[in-house]
Every structure is written in C-alpha cells, then in structure tokens.
C-alpha cells in the first residue's frame, strides 16, 4: 500500500509538469505534420508528373532523407546550418526542431502521395482525358480525389512516426514529454524507472488511438501498400 501511496504522490506532483511536455509534443508534431504534409503533397504530385529531371531530383531528396537517421538530420539543421553564416538559417532550437521534423515527415508523405496517385487505375486518366478534360483538370477532379482518400490510413501511421520522433528532440533541449521526464528525473533520481514508464504510458495513450484509426481507415478506404515502418 505504501508503495502505491508513494508512487501516487509522484504522479500527483509531476502531472502538470508532464502535461506541459505532452502539450509541447502535441504542438510540435501538429506543426511538423502540417508543413511536412504540405511539402510532401506538392512533391508527391510533382513526382507523378513524369518529368524526368524533376523525378530524379525528388528521388535524390527522398534517398537523402530516408538514408540518414533523423538524429543526424536534426544535428545538421541545428548545428550545421547556423554555421553557414546565413542570417535566416540561424535557427533557434524550436525552429530547428520544426524544420527538421517537417522535412523528415515530407519524405514519407511524398512517397505515400505518389504511390496513391499511381494506385489510381490508368483507365481513370484515359477516361477523363477522352471526355475532353485537360491534364490539370483530370488531376484536379478525377485522380486526386480518389488518391487522397487512399492516403488517409498511411498518413495516420506517419503521424504516429512523427509523434515518436519528437522524443529525439529532447537532445536539443526542446521541453517536450521526454525532456520533461528527464528534468523530473533530475529532481527525483530514485524513481527513474517509474518516471520513464509513466512517460511511455503517456506516449502509448497518445499514439495507440491513432494507430487504431489507421487500421480502421484501411478497411474503410483501402491501402496503397507502402511500407512505412
């Protein structure tokens, strides 16, 4: 019983502190998924236009972002870009976090959007072209509406990846959930395991519903067959 009382006291004391961290995690992940999706959707559409040089450039971009760990990308954006002596690249830690996470997210989104567009049967394009639509109109009214529906399940998984990646931001001192936990551990070093477990529970409660939604959306909207994780 005493153990429970003891732990409950810790939870009671840390609650507002960890919620603050969760709020930062939420904010960062929402901003990153917003900018990352915007960039990703644009690049994804461009990737399907079948313009050779453009496709090569986008593929190179994807390979660089998917071939290096997020931690390295974060360090490059946080430490290397400011060293270049360009005024607008001198990021503070929050901007660096958002920029790096958005770029990282965009690599996933580009791939998802491109494969969703490719998954729309070519007959759809041919049909819309043959009834006199321009290429842009075919994209706008026929292909994209069908493709975007298919992106919903994988986008939910990407959002979970983004949330999980925000934990890495603790290394550059963003006061998100993991960082708040580390600060709490400095205050009560005896309860290191309990506090980390508590944080794990916070993440689980946040991510699990999104994963469930993704699974449900797959039965509802179909899957495009991109393996993300």
């Amino acid at each position: 019983m005493e153990w429970f009382a003891n732990k409950w006291a810790i939870i009671d004391q840390l609650w507002p502190f960890l919620l603050q961290g969760l709020w930062t995690t939420f904010m960062v992940s929402i901003i990153a998924i917003f900018f990352g999706s915007t960039l990703g959707f644009t690049l994804g559409i461009f990737k399907t236009l079948q313009i050779r040089p453009l496709e090569k450039i986008i593929n190179g971009y994807l390979h660089i972002l998917r071939g290096s760990p997020y931690l390295v990308q974060l360090y490059i954006i946080y430490f290397v870009l400011p060293a270049l002596d360009v005024e607008w690249l001198k990021f503070d830690s929050f901007t660096a976090a958002v920029v790096s996470l958005s770029l990282y997210t965009s690599s996933y989104v580009t791939e998802i959007v491109a494969s969703a567009i490719f998954a729309v049967p070519t007959g759809q394009t041919e049909a819309s072209r043959s009834v006199g639509m321009s290429k842009a109109q075919a994209y706008r009214y026929v292909i994209l509406p069908q493709a975007l529906k298919m992106t919903i399940p994988p986008m939910a998984s990407v959002y979970v990846i983004v949330i999980k990646s925000t934990a890495v931001l603790s290394v550059i001192g963003i006061a998100e959930l993991t960082r708040q936990g580390e600060v709490a551990i400095m205050r009560m070093p005896g309860d290191i395991m309990f506090i980390y477990s508590l944080i794990a529970v916070f993440y689980f409660v946040y991510c699990y519903p999104v994963l469930r939604f993704s699974k449900w959306a797959e039965t509802r909207f179909g899957s495009v067959g991109v393996d993300l994780e």
Binding site: H63, I64, R66, G67, S68, P69, Y70, L71, V72, Q73, Y75, I76, F79, V80, A83, L84, V160, I163, K164, S165, T166, A167, V168, S170, V171, T178, I192, M193, Y196, S197, I199, A200, Y203, F204, Y206, C207, Y208, L211, G225, D227, E229
Partner: protein, 230 residues
C-alpha cells in the same frame, strides 16, 4: 582549394577517418546481430500471433502494440536503466550489449508483423492446389508456400533493416560507440559542426547505398510478386 577548405575542411575529417571507420564497423555489426536476433524472435512472434489460443496471441498482440506506440528512445532508456535491476547479470552488460537487447526488443514486433503478412500473403488456393496435385502437407509447405512467402517478405524486411541501421544512431545517447558516437566524439574534440555532422550523414548514406545495392541483387535473385509491382 582555399575556398573549399573554408567551407569543408577535409584535412580534419581525414584525421578522424579511423574513428569513423570504427564507428561504421560497430554500426554494421550491431545492426547485423540485432537483425539476426529479431528475425529469429520475429518468426516466433508471427507464429504466436497467428495462434488461436487467446492466452498466447493476446499478450503477443499487446507487446506488439506497446512497442509500436512508444518511441524507441524511451524503450532504450527503460532497458538501459531497468535491465540492471531486473536481471541478475544485468550489471555486467556493457552499453553495446544493452543497446543490442533494446534494439532487438524494438525490432522484433516489426519483423514479426512482416513475417506474418508474408505467411498470410500466400493464397489458400495455392495450398489447396499443392495438396490436390498429390503433394504432402510438408511438400506443399516447402515447395509452394515458403518460396512465395519468402519472396514476398524480403523487400519489406530489407526496408526494416534499413530502418534498424538508422535506429542504431539513437544508441549513441546511451554512450554506445557507433557511427553517431564517432561523430559526437569528433564534435566534442574539434567543435566544428559542419565537417562532423556532414561526414556522419555521408557515412550513413554510404551504408544505405550499400543496402540498396544488396536489395537490387536480392531482387534479381528472388523475383517474387512483391517486386514486380514496383
């Protein structure tokens, strides 16, 4: 050459090539061990997940969900700080061994899900077909089901391996000396960010490029249905 040196000083990088080589070597062997272990455990996870006994598949499903819904960093911390108190020999593990355990625990569910999807990807008709031409159950398994399942499973497994290699970078936070650790050491000694982190990134990209080449070779060798789609 002067202007180039002001942007990127190769001479300093060259001084650290041994550190980076050691780091890259460690990254590769740590990921190889994790890959082998997580594949072995992943097969068991896949089979347990397909079991009809709720006492078997429910805990396994819980494990898979728990790993998929929490960040790797937290899992590494939990194992790094928790293992010494749980296991009697936990105190004798060094950082690399702890890191391997953490990464294996993290990667196993993903591998398990990939293997399960591979087993389920072979249609029932294939099994029935095999049986109806007079093959035994075992022959059907080895000659019909497994070749197709393997061909379907290899592409996502290679993708997961690439993720595993990238994930090892997080072990630098618990002071495992791998590629990222090499970068951090160089940074702490020289305090020049550009050369350090760009070199680290390039090393990872080289490993990634090697992975792409390997998967190209495997693609030609196996030629499963999953490849033809791409």
């Amino acid at each position: 050459m002067e202007w180039l040196q002001s942007i990127f000083n190769f001479r300093i990088v060259w001084q650290y090539w041994q550190v980076f080589a050691q780091g890259a070597f460690n990254t590769i062997w740590i990921s190889t061990i994790c890959l082998i272990l997580s594949l072995i455990f992943g097969i068991f996870i896949a089979l347990a997940r397909r079991s009809s006994n709720p006492f078997i598949w429910r805990p396994v499903a819980g494990y898979i969900q728990a790993i998929r819904s929490t960040p790797l960093l937290i899992q590494i911390y939990l194992i790094y700080y928790g293992l010494p108190s749980i296991l009697p020999f936990g105190n004798f593990l060094d950082e690399a061994q702890t890191g391997i355990i953490a990464l294996t625990i993290h990667t196993t569910p993903y591998m398990g899900e990939i293997i399960r999807a591979g087993l389920e990807s072979v249609e029932r008709g294939q099994i029935e077909g095999g049986l109806s031409v007079g093959m035994s159950k075992k022959q059907t398994m080895t000659n019909v089901v497994l070749p197709q399942a393997v061909a379907n499973v290899v592409p996502p497994l290679l993708g997961q391996t690439a993720i595993l290699i990238k994930d090892t970078s997080l072990l630098s936070i618990i002071a495992v000396f791998e590629l990222m650790g090499a970068g951090l050491r160089m940074y702490s000694e020289t305090v020049i960010a550009t050369e350090t982190y760009v070199t680290t990134a390039v090393c990872y990209l080289v490993i990634y490029a090697m992975m792409l080449v390997i998967s190209g070779v495997v693609q030609r060798k196996l030629g499963g249905s999953a490849w033809q789609k791409r």
